[in-house]
């Protein structure tokens, strides 16, 4: 009898570990699953560089490509900026910017000073496209595959380590 009582905690914690193990598996992809393998949302906005040029989803060409959400007020964007530049300089992939809740003048000056890794930036002053993408904040990076579907979403700075882990396999 005493023996049985003594195994109760063991059984209980055994179940707890198994349960947590499975809930861990469930939770992993939840943040991203909403967007993965979906089409990039439709939009109609101007470019950062030209306030008269209206663009839409069909203007994101030469896939696969990255869409990088950035802003001048976002310091983490400055952290990842040198790496974006290197991606451009080595012609690894096309990068489109999504300038998020920012001012046009400030953003253009920043690009001029620090370098512009983007083919062009979508100017999303009100955050409407960002809302459709479910953006939390800047920076975030999306990879659109050759088939036009979103393959990866990354929240936070894009670093070489993150690139190796999450992005590079889609380019081969």
């Amino acid at each position: 009898m005493n023996k049985i009582i003594h195994t109760v905690p063991l059984v209980f914690f055994g179940f707890l570990v198994a349960f947590l193990f499975f809930s861990l598996g469930n939770k992993n992809d939840q943040l991203e699953s909403v967007l993965i393998d979906q089409n990039f949302p439709n939009f109609s906005l101007t470019t950062l560089e030209d306030a008269n040029r209206i663009i839409g989803k069909e203007d994101i060409v030469d896939l696969p490509a990255l869409v990088n959400v950035w802003a001048t007020w976002c310091i983490t964007c400055k952290v990842e900026h040198p790496f974006l530049m290197s991606l451009k300089e080595n012609s690894v992939i096309n990068i489109y910017g999504l300038n998020y809740k920012d001012s046009r003048d400030k953003a253009l000056i920043t690009l001029e000073q620090d370098g512009n890794p983007f083919i062009y930036s979508i100017f999303d002053k009100t955050g409407s496209l960002a809302m459709d993408l479910g953006v939390y904040g800047a920076p975030e990076t999306f990879l659109i595959g050759a088939d036009g579907l979103i393959k990866v979403r990354h929240v936070g700075a894009l670093t070489p380590v993150v690139w190796e882990k999450k992005f590079s396999m889609f380019l081969k």
Binding site: P9, C74, K78, P82
Partner: protein, 639 residues
């Protein structure tokens, strides 16, 4: 270069802790009884390696070395030096190194508190502690390395420390909390070592007791500071939110309280051995589970740690290894109850048993409430539910009442059987006097009665009468006041601290008043007879933020007090924080949080009066002081 040295030191610590993890078990298996002379130098060496590694990380923060990913993501050139220093443990990676540093500090403290280390028990304890350190070091190095470089693309500027963490209370809250969390590894190691070396006589309990009490005291301080921080920094005026992360600290706190009370019985009477062993395992399990919940992303909470499933898996592995492993040993070793284990329903033993049952059932229910959303989601294929404060508030009431009633008289129960019940009437009379006095004061202050406040004041009176007043009175009568107090000093502090805590909670949840409204400069509002007048608002610049600073004058019949409430915008991350304006008095806090700018100079405000809220933290402080006095006293006597 410096970060690489730190990295190498951490790897060296990993190697040392690995050797420390296996050596004692070879000795144990070979049954050789040669000198364990390596234990002392090993412990101190391990501690120093981790300590200097941690120093290099602090250094990297102080010199703005943004080539380190961790520094770039959590600091900024504009951050004041003090916060650069504290940013070292502001996020996951650095806080893990701190965690490991804390365990190695516990190890050193334990080993150096022993005159005699040449025995299997101490050596196996050392081995288990080394295993815990090894597990956390390998976790840090493989999944959360703070020394990872952002080369060759190092940024010129970093992202800044989360603004709400740029605060004094927050900077010391994590180290204290980690001391508490990681300290529970020591009673755990002692329990496992006791089982493995078949040494569960009272010497094990005597050794374990002060350490479990000491980690519990650190937990008390850490949780108390966290509560105080949330109160003035989050701008809601709440001091406890039943947030999963708070629960993750509260549950080990409850279990560690149960643990050292149970250890008293094991030490003094040789009873509850199995139960004390189990609680030693459970308290460390709760501590690890808390770590898992916070850092795996299984639960979402306001306490933002980077969510990474790989890390969650790793911590779960650590949890499974230590907890399942120790429970296997526990189920194999089955210690017979000693024949003298007969005790009466009126005995001190039974009092401790009730205390333990209440604490553990409460802890398990809170854990259940915290995990329930995940359970529910799993069973309903993704429907979400949240378990909020009403569940927890409803739950804790009967337990608090039961524990409080027990606490008032537990001291007077006799071992085996209580023969003399004269204490009941004595304490009851003292408590009644105190109870009436407090309620008169409360009535004079608030002009009405409230049932929760009456219950809380009853518990307060009962606990203070039994644990303080009666000791004083009897000590005075016996003319041995000094002896009466000094023998129980830690307990008097801790138990009256609980009484203050309970009264504070009861009063602040009954008599708080709150008003949300929009005011323009010159407008005023009367809350509970106090006039809050919005004088002016100004723009100010801080080192790394800009702020709107509102000046409010509060007037009662005679005095006028001035209060400053701020809303800060931290430039680097574009995040806004509320710095509530608070005037703290013994009996009440005036609390004003500045909201949004509605139009022109009109701002939304939250005005609050929080009576007795200070008593909560004052109580927690007393509890911690009592715990320190008592555990350090035992450590000095023991060893």
């Amino acid at each position: 270069m410096i970060p690489e040295i730190g990295h190498i030191l951490l790897i060296a610590a990993l190697v040392v802790s690995f050797v420390g993890s296996v050596l004692p078990f070879f000795d144990l298996a070979s049954k050789k009884s040669y000198s364990q002379s390596y234990i002392k130098p090993f412990s101190i060496f391990l501690f120093l390696l981790i300590f200097f590694s941690f120093l290099t990380l602090i250094y990297s923060f102080l010199v703005d070395d943004f080539s380190l990913t961790y520094v770039a993501e959590n600091s900024n050139t504009l951050l004041p030096n003090y916060f650069k220093f504290a940013a070292t443990w502001g996020a996951h990676e650095g806080s893990l190194v701190l965690w490991t540093l804390c365990i190695s500090l516990w190890l050193v403290a334990f080993i150096y508190s022993k005159k005699e280390v040449d025995n299997a028990f101490t050596s196996v304890t050392f081995g288990i502690m080394s295993q815990v350190i090894f597990a956390f070091l390998i976790f840090t190095l493989l999944t959360s390395n703070p020394f990872e470089r952002l080369l060759p693309f190092s940024p010129m500027q970093g992202s800044d420390l989360n603004p709400s963490l740029q605060d004094f209370a927050f900077t010391i809250h994590p180290p204290l909390l980690y001391m508490g969390y990681s300290g529970l590894a020591l009673p755990f190691s002692l329990a496992v070592a006791a089982m493995m070396t078949n040494n569960i006589e009272s010497s094990w309990a005597r050794t374990s007791r002060p350490w479990s009490l000491l980690s519990c005291s650190f937990l008390t301080l850490g949780i108390g500071l966290g509560s105080w921080w949330a109160y003035y920094e989050l701008g809601w005026g709440g001091w406890w939110f039943w947030d999963p992360v708070e629960n993750a600290a509260f549950v080990p706190w409850l279990i560690s309280i149960a643990l050292f009370h149970s250890l008293i019985v094991t030490e003094k009477r040789g009873l509850f051995k199995n139960w004390s062993l189990l609680l030693s395992i459970l308290s460390f399990a709760a501590s690890l589970l808390g770590t898992f919940l916070v850092r795996s992303g299984v639960l979402t909470s306001v306490h933002a740690f980077a969510l990474d499933p790989e890390r969650g898996l790793f911590i779960l592995g650590i949890f499974a290894f230590f907890i399942i492993g120790s429970l296997v040993i526990y189920s194999l070793k089955n210690y017979k109850l000693s024949p003298t284990s007969i005790y009466d329903l009126t005995s001190k033993e039974f009092g401790f048993l009730l205390n333990n049952l209440l604490l553990v059932v409460l802890a398990v229910s809170i854990m259940f409430g915290t995990l329930f959303p995940i359970l529910y989601e799993a069973y309903t294929q993704g429907k979400q539910v949240s378990v909020g404060p009403p569940y927890f508030n409803f739950l804790i009431m009967p337990f608090a009442i039961g524990l409080g009633l027990l606490q008032g008289v537990g001291l007077y129960l006799g071992w085996g059987q209580t023969k003399n019940f004269s204490f009941v009437s004595r304490v009851a009379i003292e408590a009644s006097v105190l109870f009436i006095f407090i309620n008169i004061v409360l009535y004079l202050l608030f002009g009405k009665f409230n049932s929760s406040a009456v219950i809380a004041s009853l518990l307060f009176a009962w606990i203070v009468a039994g644990n303080f007043l009666d000791i004083i009175i009897r000590g005075f009568q016996a003319n041995k006041l000094r002896v009466f107090i000094s023998a129980r000093l830690g307990m008097i502090f801790a138990h009256t601290g609980i009484a203050f805590l309970v009264l504070g909670i009861g009063v602040v949840s009954s008599f708080s008043s709150e008003k949300e409204l929009i005011l323009g400069p010159g407008d005023s509002y009367d809350l509970e007879g106090y006039s809050f007048k919005f004088e002016e608002i100004n723009f100010q610049k801080g080192p790394n933020y800009s702020a709107q600073v509102a000046k409010i004058n509060i007037t009662d019949q005679e005095d006028t007090l001035t209060l400053i409430s701020e809303k800060r915008n931290y430039t680097a991350s574009n995040q806004t924080t509320t710095e509530a304006g608070i005037i703290a008095e013994v009996f009440k806090d005036y609390y004003v949080a500045l909201g949004e700018n509605v139009s022109n100079d009109n701002w939304s405000f939250r005005l609050q009066i929080k009576p007795f809220v200070r008593w909560i933290w004052f109580g927690a402080l007393l509890v911690a002081i009592g715990g320190f006095i008592s555990s350090l006293g035992h450590l000095r006597k023991g060893s």
